[in-house]
Structures are given as structure tokens and as C-alpha cells.
């Protein structure tokens, strides 16, 4: 079974601030790590491989330093890692990102299964997975919490729903996104870590992917962030006077006025 896992590198400890000039989010991070949901995606891929055999490829679109997260994926057991990296990809929204990833998947040779995390820790849109599946013409099941069975050309799984879960069967090749409830990701082994230090990370740029410059980066991104603002936080204090009974009445009235009650 050929499995591709989409991985995003996210800041490990990060502070989100809003640039007062541009109104843009500035995400400054010290450490970086594999997006937690993508760790679950990778773990599930490794478990499927251990059970059914096959190959796990970790794929990431990002700057050169995202290779570190791919190295981590190799330390955990991924067979190969591919970084889709080009200065032209900078500023890609979810649509442009999914487009680049779809080109990567085509170049990689179509996998039987693509596993994504449900959403990223920093962007939290949850859109790249389904968009990628759509672009590749693959069926997609989101929020998978358990893979029940993988058969010839299909798989059955549970997806989380508001109350309880759905049992869904999907044809393969296909794509899924997973939630953190699906597994507890393993920790790397010392041998894996040492091996990963030496492992070669394949890098494909826009040209190698045959990307149309108009469809990637900020140019290829239909999404425009017009403005981001921070909610004003204000606190007011008012001391009530009078008997306890009248104070209670007044509190209830004020809570009603503020539509809290």
C-alpha cells in the first residue's frame, strides 16, 4: 500500500501577534515541530504499513527549514520525504497550497491513500486536505477517528460526528483527514533519529513540479486577508449599594441587559 502523508511544519512554542501597521498575523516561533494532527496522520500511515506492508512518503510544502520536520518523519519511520519548496510558493493560501501538493502527489506517482491531519495548529482552516482530494479527483473522508478495515480497493472507517460517529466506506485510491483521537503518535527511536540525520530529503521546486506561476503563491491565492484586528478587551467595575435583596435584583437585571441571562 502506497501511503502519502501531508505534513506541515508549525512553530512549537509560538506567539501570535497582529502587526499594527499591516494588520497581518505575525507568527513568530522559536522551536518548530510537525503539526500535531499530522503526527497522528503519520502514525496511522506507519501502522497501516506495519499491518499491510507498503511504503510511506511524507510530503510537505514549505521553506527549506521544513526539511527538519520531514527528517523527523523519517526518524519516526517514513520511507521517504519530499519537500515542495520554491520562493514562488510563498504566500500560498489553502487553495494554492493544495494545488502545489496535488502537483507533488502526481509527480510522486498516485498513492493508494493520502492521509492529512484534520487541520493545522497555526492556520486552523482544515481546508487543504479536502481541496487536495478534490483537485486529484479522489474521494475524501474527514475527521477519521478509526480505521476499521482496509480491503481490496476500499477501506472502512469511523469519522467523528457531533454525537457519536459515522461508519464510512471509501474507495481507494482516496484521501482522509484524521483527528487526534485516532492514535497516540509514537516517539522516535535513537536509531531512527541517527538515520534521519543522514537521510536525503528530495526537494522539488516549481519548475520540477511543472507549476504555473499564476496558480501558486500569493498570485495563485484567491483568498485575500483584508484586515485582522484584535478584539478590544475592557473591564468595568461597578459597586452596588443597598440591601442584599435589591443588589441581587440589580445584578440579575444587569445580566439580562447584557444578554448573559
Amino acid at each position: 500500500m502506497k501511503i502519502a502523508v501531508c505534513i506541515k511544519q508549525v512553530p512549537g512554542k509560538f506567539k501570535i501577534e497582529i502587526d499594527p501597521q499591516s494588520g497581518a498575523l505575525t507568527k513568530s516561533g522559536t522551536d518548530s515541530m510537525i503539526n500535531p494532527f499530522d503526527q497522528n496522520a503519520l502514525e496511522e500511515a506507519l501502522r497501516l504499513k506495519e499491518k499491510h506492508g507498503g511504503k510511506v512518503s511524507a510530503v510537505s510544502m514549505g521553506p527549506a527549514q521544513a526539511a527538519e520536520s520531514l527528517r523527523e518523519a523519517i526518524a519516526l519511520g517514513a520511507d521517504e520525504a519530499i519537500l515542495l519548496s520554491d520562493p514562488a510558493f510563498e504566500g500560498s493560501d489553502t487553495w494554492a497550497t493544495a494545488h502545489v501538493l496535488s502537483l507533488g502527489m502526481k509527480k510522486l506517482g498516485p498513492p493508494d491513500l493520502i492521509i492529512c491531519g484534520r487541520q493545522s495548529l497555526d492556520g486552523e482552516t482544515g481546508q487543504v486536505g479536502p481541496e487536495l482530494a478534490e483537485m486529484l479527483g479522489l474521494p475524501f473522508v474527514s475527521s477519521v477517528s478509526r480505521i476499521e478495515e482496509v480491503g481490496e480497493g476500499s477501506m472502512r472507517m469511523q469519522r467523528m460526528a457531533e454525537e457519536g460517529h459515522h461508519v464510512v466506506e471509501m474507495q481507494l485510491p482516496g484521501a482522509i483527514s484524521v483527528v487526534k483521537e485516532i492514535n497516540v503518535p509514537r516517539l522516535p527511536s535513537l536509531r531512527g533519529l541517527m538515520q534521519a540525520k543522514k537521510a536525503a530529503i528530495t526537494v522539488w521546486n516549481g519548475q520540477e513540479l511543472g507549476a504555473d506561476p499564476a496558480r501558486v503563491g500569493s498570485q495563485g491565492s484567491p483568498l485575500r486577508t483584508v484586515r485582522v484586528t484584535q478584539p478590544q478587551r475592557s473591564a468595568q467595575r461597578e459597586m452596588l449599594q443597598g440591601s442584599p435583596e435589591s443588589q441581587v435584583d440589580e445584578v440579575v437585571e444587569k445580566l439580562r441587559q447584557s444578554r448573559i441571562l
Binding site: R186, L187, P188, S189, L190, M194, K197
Partner: protein, 385 residues
């Protein structure tokens, strides 16, 4: 301080820290409270190769030395001294086989130790024999290709959980310490059972039980080294393992220091954090200095061993005594800095203080280990005269 660790050692230390913080930290209080053996954690460490590091490469290990082992024990102990000793005692139990076992014994046992499939334990102590190892009463009488064991070992770490036991017994009681031998006894051997689980002050997650032998027949081939070599195997094994106990003490102290620093910065009294009070600052300064001094001594000792030094009993003893006494002082001061909170089990430092105490006691009480140091010091002087 820069200790110039190799790339692999830095990776190993980072990995051990990750396991400690991600997996051990969330459960350490519960493990202590329930006195449960951390079997799942040990399996996870095995999957991460941590049980492989001290096994020679030819037996599916990674061939790491004393420093590698110390780094892991230190990082585990920084979070939980109890889980760390379950790990450390497993290395201890394998040491007699690594150092003195036959190739056949190594082939039979060490790959399983490396993979974590089977845990080990080391057994010397008895009701009448601890520091006085010559007073061992458990006997092994040779008969028809077997040794028949009778007696009871006491306070054995990992007892019941381990599958492979390196046991020091008397094969010739008349010869005293020269009549001791080391044998491998497997769990499940008829006549081999476990006594009650001890209720301890600290390191409560670890299993401490008796090994009871009643006409327990062990194949002759399980003799480690030669007959009569048991006492020397025990002494050399402890020389080799004492830096590990020292590293355990070091890690516990490091954890306590960090907890004390964090608390001192948060706790506000008289309008400012108590870290602004010089009396507290000086306590922290002494704690940090002592922790670093112990680390330097332990790493230097481990490197001496890894460089292939013939004798290192003195260095190992110094590391163990210094680090464990230091850990007791540092953890006690951490509790002091946390004050009333420190005395409560909701905060981690009282456990660290309880865990630290054992490091002054096991693998030789600090009093008897000081004898080893004094003996070497005096011997050197005598040789010069």
C-alpha cells in the same frame, strides 16, 4: 556548562528528555500514589532503543558506554526517579552477563534485553547480607548438571517484573566471600517465587520484592564466570553501576532545582517574588553549583570508564557519594523554598526528596562506599612509602 557530548549522545539525551516530559511527567504522581510498575513506559523506552544502548553491538545493542547510560538515567530522573530506577536496575541486572557471561549466555539473553522483551534484575542483598556480602546465606549445591538453590534474596529492584535474574549465591559457604558465585535464574523456573511487594518511602513505582528459592534447579550452564567469582562479579558490577545511581541522584536534583526556581519566581510575598529575596537566591545558587559539580564528576567518571580504565572503583564511589548527598540537600532545600506547598503532594518536590533518599542507601550505603574511597586513598599513600 559545555560537556562536549557527541552528536549521538546529544540526540540520546534529547530523546530521553522527550520521553520523560511527554510520557512520564503526566503519570508520575499517579505511579507514585498507586505504586504501580511502569510497564507501558518501559515498553515505550524499549521501542525508542533506550534499552539497547548499554548492550554490545554484537548482541543487537548499540554499544553505548557508561556516559550514554548516565545521560538517559539523568533525564528520566529529572522527571521521575522511580521510573528511572526501573530502567537503571534493568541495566544493572544485565551487567554481570555483559561483563562475565559466556558468549553463549550473551547470545541467549542480551538480544532480548536489548529489545526490551525481557527485563533483568540483580540480586545480592539478603536479610543478613547487604554491605556484608560475604554473609550471603542463599546456597547453590551442584547436583547432576544443576545448581540447587535455597534461600531468600531481599529488597530486589524489578523483582517479579524481570525475566532474567543475576543472583549471587554461596556455592562453597566454607570459603566465605571466595565461595560466592553468580548464576542466571529465569523467572518461571520451578522453585523460584517472589515474596511480598515492599511499601517504600520513595521510588514507589519500582517493584521491590523478595526472591524465594526452594530447591530451585538451575542448569550448570547458567553459572556466570567461574565458581567462586561471585563476590568479585558483584563488586565490579557495582563499580560499573554506581555512576548510574549518581546520575539518578543528579537528575532528581536537577528536577528539584528547576521546580524551586520556577516557584521562587512566581511566589509573591511582601509585594515581590521570593526570588528577589537574597536568602532564597543564595539557596538557589548553592543548589545550582552543587548540581553542576556533581554533573562534572559523574560525566568525568563515566568517560574514565568508557576510555577503558582498568580500575575505577574510587571514581565511581566518589560520584555516587557526592551526587546522592548533594541530591538529598538540594531536594530538601527545594521543599524549603516551596514552603508549605513543597510539603504537599500536589507539588512534585516532596516526592523528589523521598526519591533522593534511596540514592544514599542502595548499591552500597554512602558510609560503606566511603570505605572504598578511603581504602584507595590510603593504599596510594602506602604504595608511595
Amino acid at each position: 556548562m559545555e560537556y562536549f557530548l557527541s552528536e549521538q549522545q546529544q540526540t540520546l539525551k534529547g530523546l530521553a528528555r522527550k520521553i520523560a516530559e511527554q510520557r512520564i511527567l503526566p503519570v508520575r504522581a499517579e505511579l507514585d500514589e498507586k505504586e504501580e510498575f511502569p510497564g507501558d513506559l518501559i515498553r515505550e523506552m524499549a521501542a525508542s532503543d533506550l534499552l539497547r544502548i548499554f548492550i554490545p553491538e554484537e548482541y543487537e545493542g548499540l554499544g553505548g558506554g557508561s556516559l550514554d547510560l548516565c545521560l538517559v538515567i539523568e533525564e528520566l530522573s529529572r522527571v521521575c526517579g522511580g521510573v528511572a530506577i526501573c530502567y537503571g536496575a534493568n541495566a544493572l541486572g544485565a551487567l554481570p552477563v555483559i561483563g562475565y557471561g559466556s558468549d553463549e549466555q550473551k547470545k541467549k539473553y542480551l538480544p532480548d534485553v536489548a529489545s526490551g522483551k525481557r527485563l533483568t534484575a540483580f540480586a545480592v542483598t539478603e536479610a543478613t547480607a547487604g554491605s556484608d556480602a560475604a554473609n550471603i546465606r542463599t546456597t547453590a549445591v551442584r547436583s547432576d548438571g544443576y545448581y540447587v538453590l535455597n534461600g531468600t534474596k531481599q529488597f530486589i529492584t524489578n523483582a517479579g517484573e524481570a525475566e532474567i535474574y543475576s543472583v549471587v549465591v554461596m556455592t562453597d559457604p566454607a570459603k566465605g566471600s571466595r565461595g560466592a558465585s553468580a548464576l542466571i535464574v529465569e523467572k518461571g523456573t520451578p522453585g523460584f517465587s517472589f515474596g511480598k511487594k515492599e511499601k517504600k518511602m520513595g521510588i514507589r513505582t519500582s517493584s521491590t520484592r523478595e526472591l524465594v528459592f526452594r530447591d530451585c534447579r538451575v542448569p550448570e550452564g547458567n553459572l556466570i564466570g567461574r565458581e567462586g567469582q561471585g563476590f568479585i562479579i558483584a563488586i565490579r558490577t557495582l563499580d560499573r553501576s554506581r555512576p548510574g545511581v549518581a546520575a539518578q541522584a543528579l537528575g532528581i536534583a536537577q528536577g528539584a532545582l528547576e521546580a524551586a526556581v520556577e516557584y521562587a519566581r512566581q511566589r509573591v510575598q511582601f509585594g515581590h517574588p521570593i526570588s528577589a529575596i537574597q536568602a532564597v537566591q543564595h539557596l538557589l545558587a548553592d543548589m545550582a553549583t552543587e548540581v553542576e559539580a556533581a554533573r562534572a564528576l559523574i560525566y568525568a567518571t563515566a568517560r574514565t570508564i568508557d576510555a577503558g580504565a582498568k580500575g575505577f572503583a574510587e571514581e565511581a564511589a566518589m560520584a555516587k557519594v557526592f551526587a546522592s548527598d548533594m541530591a538529598m540537600r538540594v531536594t530538601t532545600n527545594a521543599v524549603q523554598i516551596l514552603g508549605g506547598a513543597g510539603y504537599m503532594r500536589d507539588y512534585p518536590v516532596e516526592k523528589m526528596m523521598r526519591d533522593a533518599k534511596i540514592t544514599q542507601i542502595y548499591e552500597g550505603t554512602n558510609q560503606v562506599v566511603r570505605n572504598t574511597i578511603a581504602l584507595e586513598v590510603l593504599k596510594r599513600k602506602a604504595l608511595r612509602e
